[in-house]
Symmetry: C2
Subunit: 387 residues, 2 copies
């Protein structure tokens, strides 16, 4: 399917924000998993709105941005019910990646990232369960946040795997990112910065060598900003082991979420999306039990590594955006490698910000910083200082 606009087809939504407010003059878009009163929530799948009534209230995130003065200018394409990491939707198409023509935008918040990167709006709402804000931020050269789970209400946002679901957002520059973040977090962005930086040697080693090299100047800037820096292994059992645990728990939880809909309505899906649900439905309970134990270990590890005042940096993705339209046998290992750098998000529940980290052959790739649970604003402060 050809690449498409970031926005859903049809007449463009336009809902003016409050006349005054800290975000007055800014525009935003919302991934089509967020409710907008009076408009169906499409969920990126033709059979989703058929069984979900048109919402009568805005999602919390939409209402919060409107109340702060930002104007909603559209709803954006998403991977099917957020089950995707690359941004290729077999029904709605693949939004263009303005920073990397011919490449995927990343997903599942594909249209939101595409719209911000193209300058069609100032910020956009996304969701991140297994990387759905972080990956498109990396591929499109944007600032993007996966907050601490529970930090930002998910009311009115379609669920996938509730224990990992978060509401995130994108911006092109650090100043706008900080302004929007202050509203969404309900908290001023501090001037003081963290005082200790960890470099995740396992994650840098796992990324393509060209990515580690491209990120080096931005890591050096981080080091100059923060007084102490040292190397650390983020995931001693292995990034792939953490990813395996997350890729066990998240799909099984997603199957629990979607099972009533799937079994009652036998909806249409792209083959690989259905395949993920089928595989999840067949996951042995013993695998889930192990994955829960590994989740406990991951939480313990990140809590140990990241006391208040410490942040850890890593490449957001192991490579820049892949080409559009690759066959499944090529894409499957690509998705698996991405999960190795994103798995800690859903697994351990620490906040993560991806910021434009550098270019590999002209293609953007993100640098991520992770902080203590609840230290979302501190990460934004670092992003603003670098942006």
């Amino acid at each position: 399917m050809d690449q498409t606009s970031a926005f859903l087809p049809g007449p463009r939504l336009h809902i003016a924000g409050a006349a005054s407010g800290p975000l007055a003059g800014l525009t935003f878009a919302a991934k089509d998993l967020f409710d907008v009163a009076g408009h169906p929530t499409g969920g990126g799948n033709p059979d989703w709105p058929r069984v979900h009534p048109v919402p009568t209230r805005h999602a919390w995130a939409v209402q919060t941005l409107l109340d702060a003065g930002a104007t909603l200018v559209g709803k954006t394409v998403t991977d099917e019910v957020s089950l995707g990491i690359l941004g290729e939707n077999a029904f709605d198409g693949t939004p263009v990646n303005p920073a990397a023509p011919g490449r995927v935008p990343g997903g599942s918040s594909s249209g939101s990232a595409s719209a911000v990167a193209a300058g069609l709006c100032d910020t956009a709402l996304g969701t991140d369960t297994g990387g759905s804000v972080r990956v498109p931020a990396s591929f499109c050269g944007l600032f993007g946040i996966r907050p601490t789970p529970g930090r930002v209400p998910v009311t009115g946002m379609a669920a996938q795997a509730p224990s990992s679901d978060t509401t995130g957002w994108f911006a092109r520059d650090g100043a706008t990112f900080a302004k929007v973040s202050a509203i969404m977090l309900g908290e001023a962005i501090p001037d003081a910065l963290p005082t200790r930086l960890l470099r995740a040697t396992d994650a840098f080693g796992f990324a393509d060598p060209a990515v580690a090299a491209a990120l080096a100047p931005m890591v050096a800037r981080l080091e100059r900003l923060i007084s102490a820096a040292q190397d650390e292994i983020m995931a001693p059992p292995g990034l792939s082991v953490w990813a395996r645990a997350q890729r066990t728990l998240q799909p099984v939880e997603a199957w629990e979420t979607f099972r009533p809909w799937v079994e009652t309505h036998n909806p249409r899906f792209a083959f690989n999306v259905a395949r993920g649900l089928v595989t999840a439905a067949a996951t042995p309970a013993a695998d889930c039990e192990w994955a829960e134990l590994m989740r406990q270990e991951a939480r313990g590890r990140l809590a140990y590594l990241l006391p208040s005042g410490t942040i850890l940096c890593l490449p957001t993705t192991p490579f820049p955006a892949p080409k559009v339209g690759l066959p499944l046998p090529v894409l499957d290992p690509i998705r698996a490698r991405i999960a190795c750098l994103c798995g800690q998000g859903g697994l351990a529940g620490h906040p993560q910000v991806s910021l434009p980290g550098g270019l590999v052959d002209g293609l953007p790739v993100g640098l991520s910083i992770i902080g203590a649970r609840g230290a979302d604003a501190a990460l934004v402060a670092v992003a603003r200082a670098l942006g």
Copy 2:
């Protein structure tokens, strides 16, 4: 999705048959798995024609009917790439069952059966791999044939599981069925009838008691027609064991057929269709090896039971057509039970004719007769004598 017409939407095809010929004056339709020159073969899936060029020649079956004087009046809805037994297509809808309103027509030759049953054409082409002519014939109250594999060329017909694929056809009455069959088989339908009838006690016992009761008068007519009759077990290991073998071999072979398309294009499917392919792709080789051995046993059993001159009768389906729109947890065991009565077709490769057998609460159900390999015309002769 609402129930739809038997025919594909859009302008109706019309290709006049030869001016004279044994089928002059008859009309026919072709399941959308058969090539019609100059028209895309849709295959019941929106992503199938995208990768299959518009055919430049008619399928063998289409050309044969045209040459005999029949006129093509349309292409009909099919389950996605023939992967279905009930006739519910999530993209194209569920063709009405004129004989059983509110019920499925059966599939995958759903539209062909629906069109013939509604009187929209005199005969229609279908395909039968695991029951795709026999089941809709039973549910719609029609005559339908699954020929001996290899007996009728499948050129220009989309493959599913080549070792089980056959080209079949439907008619409302025995006389028309025999006229069309003589052309398709290239052989006169004999006046002499088989001389020995077997009643498959395991199959009658497996069907709903109401079905066995409804079929009893037609079985009695068969017994009067044929000099000797006796009870026999068709499948000594169990109908469910034969079905298990067929439901192992057929999906694995179908996955081999569709895998290049699926892996390259990641097509859209209804969830349950994708689920079948995913399950097939994960089938252990040892299961296939066992199923091949059981296929050998089934072939031996039917060759023993069915020498030339002997036919065996059984219910085509264990129940009449189920309601439209049932949820998957209800449909899955329905499909599994149907497979127990249809499995011998693909497994052993004997020809089978389903004819209108009786009514259960006003809903049709078919009686099937199976003969020696190659004795297709003898089965048609019996159907004509009963029809």
